[in-house]
């Protein structure tokens, strides 16, 4: 039987890797992948707690999180494509249209 703490450690590592990727990368598509990593880390913590607390609520929340992730990916990638059409780049440093 794997303990709850093992799952939580894996979740914490995944979330930190996502945050580091978000801070370091300049390619917006890879930044989006980092966000997906963080969402998955949260999902893992939800499912682990749901299992060890004998409750199904965590798994229901994960279904909603996956729906939100799908919506976020669709809208975000559409924004990246619109941005690529005007600026010919996906580099986050050069996306400064709204900078005052």
């Amino acid at each position: 039987m794997v303990s709850l703490s093992s799952y939580l450690i894996l979740s914490a590592i995944l979330f930190s890797v996502g945050v580091v990727g978000f801070l370091l990368r300049r390619n917006t598509i890879v930044i989006f992948m980092s966000i997906e990593l963080m969402l998955n880390a949260a999902n893992l913590a939800f499912v682990a707690f749901s299992r060890f607390l004998n409750s199904m609520d965590g798994q229901i929340i994960v279904v909603f999180v996956i729906a939100v992730a799908a919506a976020e990916a669709a809208v975000g990638l559409a924004i990246i494509m619109a941005m690529y059409r005007t600026k010919k780049t996906v580099n986050a440093d050069e996306m400064n249209l709204m900078k005052w």
């Binding site: 939580l8 979330f15 945050v19 801070l23 370091l24 598509i29 299992r51 990916a73």
Partner: protein, 175 residues
Amino acid sequence: MIETALFVILAVVTTITAVLVIVQRNPVSSAIYLIITFFCLAGVYLLLHAEFIAIIQILVYAGAIMVLFLFVVMFLNLEKEKRPIIRHRLQKIFGVLFGAVLLFQIGMIFRSVLLRFSFLDGVKGNFSPEKVAQVGNTQVVARLLFTDFLLPFEITSVLLLVAIIGAIILAKREI
């Protein structure tokens, strides 16, 4: 015993591929490694006896979302980043430092939760693993989704509709 071995293998592969996602210079390689990460996480969900979540992890995440990512990466025809990924050494140092501090903080929060976990015995739900295995994981999730969580479920459909409309408008018009 075999459960522990499987968990260790899946956890190690998940961590290594997650790190590879953020250090790859080519976005296509990043996407491929992210798909491997999602498959390993689906295996971890199976170890947690969350079969329904494992299946939708593969269908929605590894299937739909990652195909969308690969589609956009190949549609934009991005070549490798010519400049090195990180231009400033200071940025790299601070990024990794913030990541380490965050990992420490999350660890501390989880530790305080785990120390208090025995007190949580009183709030344990009535879905014990044996009971869920008897009825079936998917049946239990579906029953809850259409009774207790009906309102959030309906709101999710509105969210998806808004996302569809937003994506069409953003991709269609010149901005």
